[in-house]
């Protein structure tokens, strides 16, 4: 099991882009279509293209560069538009004497060689519960609308707000992770007390934000996969702030969530494939014996592990396995991916709230909907989903997430 040449070239070009390496560092004669396709799958096309176009004189550019350029310009322009709005909205929240903590992309972007090429889909904000209503009212006054019912507004742990054209999205988080992922929230109980300023945003302390990036990647990995862009964010953050971290504390927090070996593998990928200096203790990094299975899952899964419907559908199997493992039950629950619990389905079939006995009806509806989806999308089938779920469950065992 090894990377394909296209995957290896993609990682090599990405590493060059992240470090603004001289053009001579590029791999010899990469297949640019494959490299750009992988970059697009991981929402890194602007990062890579902005770098490689400057490595060639115009006359020597590969033929497909002019064809890719308009797509990149479009993506960056949309990002500039939406990020200008989210920055303005954030300043408005602060002017109301509110204290939202910015997370993820808005902060990581400034660490990229060209920040505007690190595309962000939304602005994630951690909100104090006593400020939620005021934040909600401020966003409404600024022209955004919540993407949920009034009831869900005060129950869900995260609420998304969109502009009329859906180009701007603000996500308010009452907690960093849902109750189902509660163990991941434990290290952040003092998030607001230890917050700091970074690039005009209030945010978690650098160490807490690093831990959050790891746990966020962990959450995605458990669901359906994590993209290489999150590992880029982690590598850049470690390079910038890693010398100030309490690494033993980070290791303990990760171990409590069965994420320590997973984290070690992320650090090894960042160091060995993306050339980042991650000042992690070597004995922790050594806990990861083989990065290739994880790296293949990362590259194949796309930016959010959402490359295919089959992959998305594996999430109930992997989630059930992790929850069962953490709660001490011994079933992996592969069949539960087809027959999930009522609590999982209520969001899609609201009648289950009032009529829990209709659970078998919801199961049948879900199977029918899945069957119709597989007819529409060639990349999805129940057998493929189950095959992929078994493969991903084995990854969870290999990296000791299931113990």
């Amino acid at each position: 099991m090894n990377l394909t040449r296209a995957q290896a070239d993609f990682l090599s070009v990405l590493s060059c882009a992240l470090h603004q390496a001289p053009a001579q560092s590029l791999p010899a004669q990469p297949e640019w279509f494959q490299v750009f396709s992988l970059a697009e799958k991981h929402h890194l096309l602007p990062v890579i293209f902005d770098y490689v176009r400057r490595c060639f004189d115009e006359a020597a550019q590969p033929a497909m560069f002019p064809k890719v350029k308009p797509l990149v310009i479009s993506q960056i322009a949309r990002h500039i538009s939406s990020s200008s709005d989210t920055e303005r909205i954030y300043r408005a929240l602060r002017q109301q004497n509110l204290h939202p903590l910015a997370l993820k992309g808005a902060l990581c972007a400034s660490l990229y060689p060209a920040p505007d090429t690190r595309i962000t889909a939304d602005l994630d904000l951690l909100i104090r519960e006593d400020e939620f209503t005021a934040c909600h009212q401020c966003l409404i006054a600024l022209g955004l609308s919540p993407d949920c019912s009034d009831e869900a507004l005060y129950q869900d742990y995260e609420v998304s707000y969109f502009s009329a054209d859906h180009n701007v999205c603000i996500e308010l988080h009452r907690a960093l992770f849902s109750d189902a992922e509660g163990i991941l929230n434990q290290p952040f109980s003092n998030a607001f007390q230890t917050s700091c300023e970074c690039d005009g945003y209030l945010t978690l302390s650098p160490e807490n934000h690093f831990l959050f990036l790891i746990f966020h990647a962990f959450k995605h990995f458990i669901h359906s996969g994590v993209g290489i862009r999150q590992i880029c964010d982690i590598g850049l953050w470690a390079r910038e702030y890693g010398d100030t971290f309490n690494w033993p504390r980070l290791r303990t927090c990760c171990a409590n969530a069965n994420a320590d070996i997973f984290a070690a593998c992320l650090f090894r990928i960042a160091r060995e494939r993306l050339a980042f200096t991650v000042p992690c203790p070597e004995d922790w990094m050594g806990d990861c014996e083989d990065i290739i299975p994880l790296l293949l899952d990362v590259l194949e899964g796309g930016v959010y592990g959402s490359e295919s419907l089959s992959r998305l559908h594996t999430s109930t199997a992997t989630l059930n396995a992790v929850r069962s493992n953490l709660s001490g039950q011994d079933k992996e629950g592969l069949l539960r991916s087809v027959f999930p619990e009522r609590a999982y389905l209520v969001g899609h079939y609201p009648y289950l709230k009032e009529h829990p006995l209709l659970l078998p009806v919801a199961w049948a509806s879900r199977l029918c909907r899945y069957a119709s989806e597989t007819r529409r999308h060639k990349d999805s089938s129940a057998s493929e989903s189950i095959r992929l779920a078994k493969k991903r469950l084995q990854l969870l065992r290999d990296y000791k997430i299931l113990r």
């Binding site: 293209f49 902005d50 176009r53 350029k69 990149v72 310009i73 479009s74 960056i76 322009a77 949309r78 500039i80 538009s81 939406s82 200008s84 709005d85 303005r88 505007d116 022209g143 502009s163 180009n167 701007v168």
Partner: protein, 95 residues
């Protein structure tokens, strides 16, 4: 001259090309993105920074090695283009 510009529009350089990009605050009839040449971006950014007409013309003369009359004409041509395309929010104060 920054009060001439329609609010909610940003000037950005992407892949060595210049563009005017609209945000939520911009009028809906403006396109999301419009190309701009280097001279236009030069003028826009100085207008956005609040430079006066005289300051912009002086900077143009210095940096583009042309005379004041040519710089003034170029600026007027640009303002006319912006006005016709909807990127000016008010008439220019000529005093």
């Amino acid at each position: 001259m920054n009060n001439l510009l329609t609010p909610g529009v940003v000037c950005a350089c992407i892949c060595d090309e210049y563009f005017l990009i609209t945000t939520m605050e911009a009028p809906k009839e403006l396109p999301m993105i419009r190309g701009l040449n280097e001279t236009g971006a030069f003028f826009w950014r100085r207008m956005e920074a609040g430079h006066s007409r005289e300051e912009i013309i002086d900077a143009t003369v210095r940096e583009h090695d042309i005379n004041a009359e040519a710089a003034s004409q170029a600026l007027d041509d640009f303002l006319l283009l912006l006005r016709e395309a909807g990127y000016l929010s008010m008439e220019e104060d000529c005093t």
